[in-house]
């Protein structure tokens, strides 16, 4: 990191006033993102920040980046199109647990196996905030919400374990209980050359359960560094990830020590390799001449 930063956190903060509930965890998340971006130092106009729909998905609007508050569950496909269209951009995607693991759950595995160089941040609050408190895919079994008055009958998904199984090169978890740690982890995720996933336990103060508020989260939090976890050990990471929901491990679960080539890099390579074979565009129809 260079000694003088060209940009400061406030340069990434837009004029739009957040309309999150007072106390919502997402306020911290956007702060963490400002800080991480400042540390990276890319000018805002070279950043594309895509989200789906949800309280958390409002986040791009609160930054000075090019934002895209798209449709529910589709931040990743859109982010991927942006990155392939212009690999020079820094591309972020973000959204909620519902957005990412429920309606959008079919896309993650594919971005990961393609290893598109995108950082994906999920604000995991174990609830559907924007639609006022329904079960989310990360809600605990038995949980009572307005769509589960008699308790949920389903096991929750395990975002950390899933993305590890999908083969993600960078997997981390953070929480507003440690803002500096969150900023650091986001920064590292962005710097990782390849698909990076950060799960953030971001409390919903309005519909969240007591145990998922800051105090509750603190009680179950444990730093992966202090546990002596080696982030190069994928199997150990999967083992730790099994505790998602009981424990809140903070920090980097896995960082591939030998990052695989990114899809966008492979695309560039291929473009470079094949450009010499291009007919001038105005002659493209010559392809149809049978000789």
């Amino acid at each position: 990191m260079s000694a003088t930063c060209e940009f400061q956190a406030k340069d990434y903060k837009s004029d739009l006033k957040p309309i999150w509930c007072p106390g919502c965890g997402d306020f911290s998340v956007v702060q963490g993102i400002y800080r991480a971006l400042a540390a990276i130092g890319r000018p805002p106009h070279e950043i594309a920040f895509v989200s789906g729909i949800g309280c958390s998905s409002r986040i791009p609007g609160y930054t000075t980046a090019y934002g895209f508050n798209s449709v529910h569950g589709r931040s990743l496909p859109i982010a991927q199109g942006i990155k392939l269209a212009n690999p020079d951009l820094l591309v972020l995607a973000a959204g909620g647990d519902g957005d990412g693991f429920s309606i959008g759950g079919g896309h993650i595995a594919h971005l990961i196996r393609r290893n598109v160089d995108i950082t994906y941040i999920v604000m995991d609050n174990q609830i559907y905030g924007l639609t006022k408190g329904q079960l989310s895919p990360t809600s605990q079994k038995g949980r009572v919400t307005c769509t589960s008055r008699f308790g949920s009958l389903e096991e929750p998904v395990n975002p950390l374990l899933y993305v590890l199984a999908y083969g993600a090169g960078f997997v981390a978890q953070a929480s507003p209980t440690d803002l500096a740690g969150m900023a650091a982890v986001i920064e590292e995720a962005i710097r990782y050359p390849g698909f990076a996933f950060v799960n953030i336990q971001s409390p919903c103060v309005t519909y969240g359960e007591e145990a998922q508020q800051i105090r509750g989260l603190k009680a179950i939090s444990e730093s992966l560094v202090s546990l002596g976890h080696n982030p190069a050990d994928r199997l150990a990471a999967m083992d730790l990830a099994q505790h998602y929901g009981e424990k809140m491990h903070l920090g980097v679960f896995y960082r591939n020590p030998e990052p695989a080539p990114t899809y966008d890099a492979l695309v560039r390579e291929r473009q470079a390799l094949l450009s010499k074979d291009a007919l001038p565009k105005e002659n493209i129809l010559d392809l149809f001449i049978k000789k």
């Binding site: 739009l16 000018p43 805002p44 106009h45 070279e46 950043i47 594309a48 895509v50 729909i53 409002r58 791009p60 609007g61 000075t64 980046a65 090019y66 934002g67 895209f68 508050n69 798209s70 449709v71 589709r74 990743l76 496909p77 859109i78 982010a79 991927q80 199109g81 942006i82 990155k83 392939l84 269209a85 212009n86 020079d88 951009l89 079919g106 896309h107 595995a109 594919h110 695309v267 291929r270 473009q271 390799l273 094949l274 450009s275 074979d277 291009a278 007919l279 565009k281 105005e282 002659n283 493209i284 129809l285 392809l287 149809f288 001449i289 049978k290 000789k291």
Partner: protein, 596 residues
């Protein structure tokens, strides 16, 4: 001598029917003829029945024709499965495999006595000359060269090139099979000669391609640099073309995990400033509805190709239909106008695809190209296209003053706001599917919503004056009229010529722009019209209804609509026109008689 011949052939999967058709078409092109070839298969992936139609003519042709002039049946069971695609009439010469054991007088064609029926020991000749029945299709090509004068030299030239790598002996075996076929034909002349006139354009370069490849090539020509899609018959070849070529032009292509991700990536690429595209067929179009709405409200250019097949649902995946018209115009919730264009042939797919990109970029909107299985999959011979005549339009970007306090959705006189993209300094904004004020900030204000809906609607007004997106053929003042689009327009072009030859005073309107409906163009067209037909391959008369929704159709204008797969024949349209004519005359009679 003939100026125009329609061949139809059918056999089972291993018979190489389609490859014979390809060879014939290429040979015809090399000899300066115009040609169109369509294929049709059973549902089996391999080993099922397959067929093709090849039409060859000295003049340009714009549809695969009606009844066959020449029918080739390698076996009857398979041939009969294509009753609709390969109609035999009293003017057809029928050639079939003698090994079927069926007598020439007993061939299983119901209700028709062909002009001539010839049993040929095709398999036996192949075996004898080439040592394998797999050369049956080459024997057939020899027969065609012998009887109809097409490809005597060019067919073998093509085959030689194709098989070059496989060794001299295979080439020679095929040459023997071809010669045997040709010799058989010479020895058994037809009762009425049906040889084709030599073409005057012999030696000129001809292109051969199908609608899907043409569409993809045109897209790249128009500057498309991103394709996101998911395979689906009969559109997949568009993506395939991109995977073969787009890299060379600095572009990228993504075979996505599903249709939503495919169009999603294309929306992202467009947001990132690149021209982008997706292609699909009915089921995929349905899945893309939500994203299309997003592109409309976020005002992002995007071209969506829908190669129509029989619907609803999985429907008839390998057959053509025009029944996605309603979905193209009206799917996606909310108030949206999304331009819909339709090519009518492989040739004009080039122009229409470029037009789609131009409209998408200029109006900052998704545009649907409604192709259909027939156009997408058929091969046409084409004269070279002068690509320099096509103007390419790029989206209007903000400059200088625009970028001071940049407003992405600024209200302007033409309702089009300069659009920035990531990477552009000063142009940052929030794109969204949520209603927004001029800056892009979300709003839930009803009055802003009304104004923005106005903007998104009115910007399309100039489109309705684009008369160049319509074609009127025949006598512009004719009292009898046809309207048809897509591949059916080609059938109607042929019907028009036939009707005119039979003395009917008739005209044809071919819209390339289907939506928004250009009221003015239709009203002008209808000025002279007393009777008319809106001809389409839908069950619900979707085109007729779409027009009626916007235009007061003259009372005498009726719908001629039919579900897909069953091809319209030019002849039956001419018959319908005759019927209109007699109605017209009857109504005029009425006028001269005393009123009761």
């Amino acid at each position: 001598m003939r100026k125009d011949l329609v061949f139809g052939m059918a056999g089972s999967g291993g018979d190489g029917i389609v490859s014979a058709g390809d060879s014939l078409l290429q040979a015809a092109a090399a000899e300066g003829y115009h040609g169109v070839m369509t294929k049709s298969f059973g549902s089996q992936i391999r080993g099922g029945e397959s067929s093709c139609r090849v039409r060859i003519a000295t003049e340009p042709i714009l549809n695969p024709g009606g009844n066959l002039d020449v029918a080739v049946a390698l076996n009857w069971e398979d041939f009969l499965k294509f009753g609709a695609e390969l109609p035999v009439s009293g003017n057809t010469v029928v050639i079939y495999e003698a090994a079927t054991g069926i007598k020439e007088t007993e061939i299983p064609l119901v209700g028709v006595t062909p002009l001539q029926v010839i049993a040929v020991p095709i398999a036996a000749m192949a075996k004898e000359t080439a040592g394998t029945e797999r050369a049956k299709n080459t024997v057939v090509l020899g027969l065609i060269a012998g009887w109809f004068g097409i490809g005597a030299v060019a067919v073998m030239k093509g085959i030689r090139k194709k098989l070059a790598k496989k060794g001299e002996e295979l080439v020679n075996a095929n040459q023997r099979a071809f010669d045997a076929g040709r010799a058989f034909a010479m020895e058994h002349p037809l009762k009425t000669s049906m040889a084709v006139m030599p073409s005057e354009t012999k030696g000129q370069v001809k292109l051969i391609t199908d609608g899907n490849d043409m569409c993809a090539a045109a897209a790249i020509f128009a500057g498309c640099q991103f394709f996101g899609g998911y395979p689906i018959t009969p559109s997949t070849e568009i993506m395939q073309f991109f995977t073969d070529h787009v890299w060379k032009y600095g572009g990228a292509v993504l075979q996505a995990e599903d249709e939503i991700a495919g169009i999603g990536a294309a929306v992202g690429a467009s947001f990132a400033g690149k021209k982008s595209m997706t292609a699909t067929s009915g089921p995929g179009l349905s899945l893309k509805s939500e994203m299309m709405g997003l592109a409309s409200i976020a005002e992002l250019p995007l071209v969506i190709v829908d190669v129509q097949r029989g619907g609803p649902s999985t429907g008839l995946p390998t057959k053509t239909e025009q029944s996605d018209l309603f979905a193209a115009c009206f799917s996606a919730h909310g108030d949206v106008i999304r331009p819909v264009l339709a090519p009518t042939s492989v040739a004009d797919t080039f122009r229409i695809t470029i037009e789609a990109f131009n409209i998408a970029e200029y109006y900052q909107t998704p545009v649907i190209i409604l192709s259909d299985q027939e156009i997408a999959s058929r091969k046409e011979t084409l004269d070279p296209i002068d690509t320099s005549q096509f103007k390419i339009i790029n989206r209007q970007e903000p400059h200088g003053a625009d970028l001071v306090d940049y407003k992405r959705f600024k209200q302007t006189d033409n309702h089009i706001s300069p659009i920035s993209h990531p990477g552009m300094l000063g142009g940052t904004y929030l794109a969204s599917g949520i209603e927004h004020v001029e800056s892009g900030a979300p709003t839930n204000s009803g009055s802003v919503h009304q104004r923005m809906n106005d903007k998104r609607t009115k910007k399309f007004d100039p489109l309705k004056d684009r008369k160049d997106l319509f074609e009127v053929l025949g006598n512009p003042d004719a009292p009898i009229a046809m309207i048809a689009w897509g591949s059916i327009a080609g059938v109607c072009r042929e019907a028009l010529a036939m009707a005119q030859a039979e003395g009917l005073n008739v005209k044809l309107l071919v819209p390339y722009l289907l939506y928004p409906v250009a009221e003015g163009v239709y009203n002008e067209f209808f000025t002279s019209v007393q009777k008319g037909l809106i001809i389409e391959q839908t069950h619900l008369a979707q085109t007729f209804k779409l027009l009626r929704m916007h235009i007061d159709l003259p009372k005498g204008v009726k719908s001629l609509a039919r579900s897909g797969a069953n091809p319209f024949l030019p002849g039956e349209i001419v018959a319908a026109l005759h019927h209109l004519l007699s109605e017209l005359q009857r109504s005029h009679e009425g006028q001269l008689q005393p009123q009761e």
